[in-house]
């Protein structure tokens, strides 16, 4: 589904990603871990098409398309979803309106008919249960006045509604207490499917206690320096990142 080849990217002329190779298939869950400043968020932003990131080398193939040529909305239409590390507050723009406009744009792109208000609301109600989302939150302006946990929960709720093929969760666990983490992780688990790939970007192992990954990658200084299964995450939790960095330097 997603094939990243020798990806180099820089921000403000400073190279952050220095040659990433990664392949992810439908149905897989990959965790990308790494110390602060290793380039984790840069990778997720480049994949989602955030402005301000220059790809200087390499390629990203997504279902036979050159991903880097697509605008952010075209990526959304093709089934890519980014759960933001810092979800943006948008006063005056209703959550329900945003999701309806987004979902209908995606459906239109797929050649499907647009949903009317009633069909749409029944989808909303069904997905709200998935992440235990309160209706009053759903009806408010996007993320306005939401707590940190509510914002993260809203991201997963949006993911549930938009049903992406490739979901990138950027530090979705940060800022969550243990109860909220369980709810969010529970929601993500329910969204696992054979057709969907999920990339989880995280600093800590604890999210992986609840969402079991198929593969774990360690990102350091803009490169993937080690790949393993979930036991790698446990080892990182115990021993920190230093040993990986030293091992790879040898």
């Amino acid at each position: 589904m997603l094939k990243i080849e020798n990806l180099h990217a820089s921000v403000d002329g400073k190279e952050i990603l220095k040659g990433i190779d990664l392949e992810i298939n439908a149905g897989e869950v990959h965790a990308i871990m790494g110390p602060n400043g290793s380039g984790k968020s840069t990778l997720s932003n480049v994949l989602a098409g955030r402005p301000g990131y220059d790809v200087t080398e390499g390629a990203v193939h997504y279902n036979d398309k050159n991903l880097l040529e697509l605008s952010p909305e075209e990526r959304a239409w093709e089934g890519i979803f980014l759960a933001f590390q810092y979800p943006v507050e948008i006063p005056g723009v209703n959550n329900v309106y945003l999701l309806k406009a987004g979902l209908n744009a995606i459906r239109k792109h797929r050649g499907e008919s647009e949903l009317d208000a009633m069909d749409f609301m029944s989808i909303i109600r069904e997905k709200m249960k998935l992440v235990d989302m309160d209706e009053s939150l759903v009806r408010r302006s996007v993320n306005e006045g939401f707590s940190g946990g509510e914002k993260k929960r809203n991201e997963i709720f949006q993911m549930a509604v938009l049903e992406p093929k490739l979901a990138i969760l950027d530090e979705t666990d940060s800022g969550l207490d243990i109860d909220a983490l369980k709810v969010v992780a529970g929601g993500v688990n329910k969204l696992r499917s054979k057709e969907r790939a999920i990339v989880m970007i995280t600093h800590y192992q604890r999210l992986l206690d609840y969402i079991e990954p198929d593969a774990v990658h360690v990102l350091a200084d803009g490169r993937i320096v080690k790949t393993g299964d979930k036991s790698l995450a446990l080892e990182l939790e115990k021993r920190g990142y230093d040993w990986v960095l030293e091992e790879t330097r040898v």
Binding site: G49, P51, A76, F84, P87, N94, L98
Partner: protein, 419 residues
């Protein structure tokens, strides 16, 4: 014309002849050049437009849809003989009638105080020339069940001089909508002064909606005197006209009076919109809240000046003011100036102004959820503007304005679902 009215008119005309129209040398008119008015309409810019009739269909077309209200129609500044049946305690008499039947009351409606803030020669012309308007009296304790809707349609060039007066008795409540539209392809002038008196504990919701035709000039002034515990909630909108200037002056002259002044200007092309407001906190424990928002595209030019004066002894004043502007084009220009003068000790005052572009983080967020860039920009622009309308009391009025605002955005029609 009765003798007292003639004297009043002559005196006002003399004031105009002495002072003339304000020029850009006047600090309050620095950015709004009325020589454009004389250049287009001539030195006799004040010449009244012709009387005209409008067919029912056109009137309905120009009206706010779905609005259940007591409607009064003014065409080229003249009241159309079609007075709605008003409930007890509510009196509305056209100024044209009062001029003939009750000189004292007419003189009250034409009152002019050269010492009021933001006074200028144009007001004197309005006093000298005003031929019609609505003189509205709401008796003590009366709560008007439906809005009074003053629809003004300009159908041809020339000037319409309109004078409204709203007198609210103790504890009375009303909603008055002044709506200015037109279908004239010639340049003309709408020139309105509205005097508002709020007795103790009276509440007036006042909407002033300027959606004139594109060549029209528009000069407006609202002069508000508030007594104890009264409340004035104003929404002033500028979406139309080539050049518009609206001054709102509120005097909080009784303990615990409060006012809300909200506004929105949404202009493009070469439109010019100027909003000056002045709030005088002349009594203790009064509250004023002001939020004006502006969205400018093309080569539009907007001016906002909000002055709050807290007078000596007006302790316990709470005054908040903000003006936010969104520039959608590199050629649009805004001159904003919040002003605060405080002569009392115990006051809470806050003011601020911003001028900016759309937030790129918000834009990316919307795009990442599937909205194309144009829609995402429209959504954010609309949300920014709509923030000025959240305190409007009438849903049909707000919906009408939201639809009008969307029409002015590129591909805004696709967003009609937002409202």
């Amino acid at each position: 014309m009765t003798q007292p009215i003639k004297m009043l008119r002559d005196a006002a005309w003399q004031v105009y002849e002495q002072t003339g129209l304000p020029t850009t040398r006047n600090e309050d008119w620095k950015y709004t050049d009325l020589s454009r008015l004389t250049a287009v309409l001539g030195e006799t810019w004040w010449t009244p437009s012709h009387a005209a009739d409008l067919d029912k269909e056109t009137v309905e077309e120009q009206s706010i849809p779905e609005l259940d209200a007591y409607r009064l129609i003014f065409i080229n500044g003249r009241f159309q003989e079609d007075m709605p049946n008003l409930p007890e305690g509510v009196s509305v008499v056209p100024l044209s009638t009062l001029l003939v039947s009750d000189a004292d009351k007419a003189a009250k409606a034409l009152e002019m105080d050269e010492k009021t803030p933001l006074f200028n020669g144009a007001i004197a012309v309005n006093t000298a020339m005003a031929s019609d308007g609505a003189c509205i009296c709401i008796a003590d304790g009366v709560k008007l069940d439906k809005p009074l809707y003053l629809l003004h349609v300009a159908t041809s060039g020339g000037a319409s001089h309109i004078r409204h007066g709203i007198w609210m008795g103790r504890g009375a409540t009303a909603h008055v909508i002044e709506h200015y539209v037109g279908n004239s392809t010639d340049a003309g002038l709408t020139h309105n002064v509205t005097l508002v008196h709020l007795d103790e504990a009276a509440t007036l919701y006042h909407d002033r909606l300027q959606l004139e035709a594109e060549k029209q000039f528009h000069l407006g002034r609202v002069d508000v005197k508030q007594l104890r515990n009264s409340r004035f909630v104003s929404h002033s909108l500028a979406l139309g006209a080539a050049l518009s200037r609206v001054d709102i002056a509120v005097s909080l002259s009784g303990v615990n009076a409060s006012c809300v002044l909200n506004g929105l200007y949404l202009i493009g092309g070469r439109q010019h919109a100027d909003h000056h407001t002045r709030i005088d906190h002349a009594s203790p424990d009064c509250t004023s809240q002001e939020t004006y928002k502006g969205v400018l595209s093309g080569r539009a030019h907007a001016v906002f000046n909000g002055k709050v004066v807290v007078h000596e002894g007006a302790d316990g004043t709470d005054a908040k003011q903000s003006n936010g502007n969104l520039l959608l084009s590199d050629h649009a220009e805004v001159d904003t100036k919040p002003e605060l003068e405080i002569y009392a000790d115990e006051v809470k005052c806050a003011h601020g102004a911003t001028v900016g572009q759309l937030d790129l983080e918000q834009l990316f967020y919307l795009q990442s959820r599937g909205l194309d860039k144009t829609s995402a920009k429209n959504v954010l622009t609309f949300a920014f503007a709509d923030d000025a309308l959240t305190q409007m009391i009438s849903a049909p009025v707000r919906r009408y304005l939201e639809r009008a605002a969307l029409k002015r955005l590129p591909q805004g029609d696709e967003l009609q679902e937002m409202v």
